[in-house]
Symmetry: C2
Subunit: 240 residues, 2 copies
DNA sequence: TCTATATAATGGTCATACCATTTAATCATT
DNA sequence: AATGATTAAATGGTATGACCATTATATAGA
């Protein structure tokens, strides 16, 4: 019936105003806010209150604080930090398993693969090809550290699907996933298998064959799902 | 080669310790941390530093701070707040559209519907039936405010799919979605259509027919997607 | 020209004080 | 005895002022 009336903290109003300035692009990424002492004066509050606000904005990934001369609070590029860290937090809190994460990834990435086949622009395809080729070349020259190439491929694919929300979501899933998987050095086989899969998916996307792209992605991720399965992965997320 | 060594802030170490205590369940939801002044003494730092840490933990949804006698920092139940707020933030930051959100929902919820058909326990089915029945009854008695029932249904369904990560994700999508949709009072037709759809999905899940559940969910969400489409919804998310 | 040093800007932390809010206990009134 | 008002105590919120630590830049010296 009635909505709660509550603005007990001055710092909240300051957070609101700075957020607003960022969202409305009055403050752009890279811009520097005034030093704390000046902000305090401008807002007519103490430095403490300003610092409270900056702390929250920093924790939400909106600004970055640097110390020293010419330091201060800088508006960040849009980033996944807060999204992945809150996902990470939820996972630890409720002890979700790596298997759930893999399954979730499969759900979203099979969909993005299909969408990408419909929507990828010529530039997207170009980027995808570049990524896939680079990965191949690296493999041939004996580089076994395949993970960055994998990240690149899946990111480029998500981007091609033209749905920023799915891109964000799967991006933060993937971050979690790799954090864990980093402990399992990829063997040559795994890397080669991944490179082949990626190539196939790329070709399906290029051909505009959504169903095939979906199916290949499904197989690709299932392969790694099985790898995870053999590790009985449920406790892998409780690292530290 | 070497990993960055960096703990320039004392408050970060305090955050780490308190997080750790929560994740390891040494601190349980509802527990109260010592008053700021005592924590300061225990950690051997000033109150400011403690407050910095508490500010961040609060912003991450791990604790809740209440003022007054018997106030203090209380460990919260696991919650979606930080996840949805960072999603919300990203959406505003990059101005993602409501259509993207709807599409993302469709991707995940069609999958959860299918999974639910495989995995729903008898208790899950009972809850689903209860929810669907309650919604019907409310409609018959002329209650047009259908949204809470819809939330209940989709939540119960997500829970039945036994993948906490998907449940979280779609939960925070839905929050966003309803925030926007609340401005469009649901007409009688929309409510009745939704109630029928939900019933059908429930029956498919109960019958264990995953493909059917997926298809019905697809149709259900597409219907609302079209409604959104007619509103040319792209700017609806820039509310405040 | 290059390197070391001093200087200034700026966030991080501290100590102390007081205010505002909330709970609980006490007291007064009926 | 019950209820309402008053007071007291606990606790977070904010303010001041100070000093420390880090960093970039300017200055001085080799």
């Amino acid at each position: 019936m009635f909505t709660k009336v509550q603005v007990s903290r001055v710092s909240e109003e300051i957070i609101r105003q700075i957020e607003q300035a960022i969202y409305s692009e009055k403050l752009l990424p890279g811009d520097r806010l005034a030093p704390e002492r000046e902000l305090a004066e401008q807002f007519g509050v103490s430095r403490i209150t300003i610092r409270d606000a900056l702390r929250v904005l920093e924790s939400n990934g909106l600004i970055e604080i640097r110390v020293g001369a010419n330091g201060g609070a800088f508006v960040r590029e849009p980033n996944l930090d807060s999204l992945s860290s809150s996902l990470n937090s939820m996972i630890k809190f409720k002890k979700a398993s790596l298997l759930e994460l893999t399954e979730a990834r499969k759900v979203i990435e099979t969909a993005t693969a299909e969408l990408a086949a419909d929507r990828a622009s010529p530039e997207d395809l170009e980027l995808l090809e570049e990524v896939v080729m680079a990965a191949r070349k690296a493999l041939e020259s004996g580089d076994l550290y395949y993970m960055p190439h994998s990240v690149n491929f899946h990111s480029a694919l998500a981007k091609s699907a033209k749905n920023y929300i799915l891109e964000l979501t799967v991006g933060s899933f993937r971050t979690q996933f790799y954090n864990v998987l980093e402990k399992l050095l990829p063997t040559r086989d795994m890397a080669e298998k991944a490179a082949e899969d990626h190539w196939g998916i790329y070709e399906a996307v290029k051909a505009g064959d959504g169903k095939l792209a979906r199916q290949l992605m499904e197989e690709h991720l299932s392969y790694f799902e099985n790898k995870v399965h053999t590790l009985n992965g449920s406790s892998l997320l409780d690292d530290e």
